[in-house]
Amino acid sequence: MIEEKINFYLNLFFFLLLGLWIIFSFAPIILPYDIISLLSSKYLYGLTCHQISERCFGFDGISMLICSRCFGIYIGLIAGIVLFSFSKIRSRFDGLMFSSQLIILILFAAPFCFDIILSKSAMYNSGNAIRFVTGFFLTIPFSFFIKSSLTNLSKEIYYKTNYAK
């Protein structure tokens, strides 16, 4: 299999996995009476998220399985992967010096960290929209590095299947 094809399938797999993870977080809204799936997904998502209902987006009084911040993180990751699929944007970010890339990462992560520190220290109470936006911006630049590590992985697979022997 050629390298580009492996890269494409790896990206597709990652994208689908993330997409399914996000779609299942809507389980209580889509399937409000399916108790088994609700309980299992509640436990599964509970591993990474507090699931406090007033901090989750919801519809008609039914909350999602993940909080608005986590939802923003996942949507940001998807948006970043889509964004960096465009070769023009990718090559522009790729062309930056490493230190500039690091500064961009820190700048995008700073609102997220400030929001958590300030709201945890009870200085202010951020709403769901702010939590979503800060989570969203946290993961956008990181998705570039995730994408390039998928490219590295596809290179390694290609090398191992073709030249390892």
């Binding site: 509640k42 591993l47 990474t48 699931q51 406090i52 209902s53 007033e54 909350s63 993180i73 490493f98 890339q101 992560a109 997220f112 960290c113 958590i116 520190i117 945890k120 220290s121 946290l138 990181f142 590095f145 995730i146 390039s148 590590s149 590295n152 992985l153 390694e156």
Partner: protein, 163 residues
């Protein structure tokens, strides 16, 4: 297991466990500090070994580092939490039951959780809770540290022009 991986994993896993018990900062553990620990672990392995003959920084390194950090931080976290429960007067299971009833819209609390709360109230220790803390942290930290490791490898390859 190569000892070159063990020391970085030990340092990073211990760091994650320590941060997970610090108030306020602990809220950023899974999203910020665990991926950072994964990235740092991979960087430390690279720093130790990049002069060695035949050393290649592979993506699988991120998975191994994630697994090791998850395991080590899970063990330390379970120990730290148990010590805190033993020496303090708070009952985290009681607090969790309150939050579940108040916010998560579940009214029927399973008996195992109620028994855990009772056990902590009486003995200040619950083996079930310690084991569940270990497994929860092991699973979550493994995933996030592996993601951090992946990002770390990608950054290292760009920074040091490693192929």
């Amino acid at each position: 297991m190569q000892s070159k991986r063990l020391l970085p994993a030990l340092v990073c896993g211990f760091g994650v466990a320590v941060i997970s018990i610090i108030p306020i900062i602990q809220a950023m553990n899974c999203c910020v500090f665990t991926p950072l620990a994964g990235g740092l672990g991979v960087y430390l392995v690279f720093k130790q070994s990049h002069g060695d003959e035949g050393f290649r920084l592979q993506t699988s390194e991120a998975m191994i580092m994630g697994l090791l950090i998850g395991l080590i931080s899970g063990v330390f976290d379970a120990v730290f939490q148990s010590i805190i429960i033993a020496v303090s007067k708070t009952n985290p299971v009681d607090d969790a039951i309150f939050i579940i009833k108040e916010y998560v819209q579940i009214t029927d609390i399973p008996n195992i959780i109620l028994d855990m709360a009772k056990e902590i109230e009486e003995k200040r220790f619950s083996l079930v809770l310690t084991i569940s803390i270990f497994f929860t942290n092991f699973i979550v930290n493994t995933i996030f540290a592996a993601i951090g490791g992946l990002i770390g490898i990608s950054m290292i390859k760009r920074r040091f022009n490693v192929n």
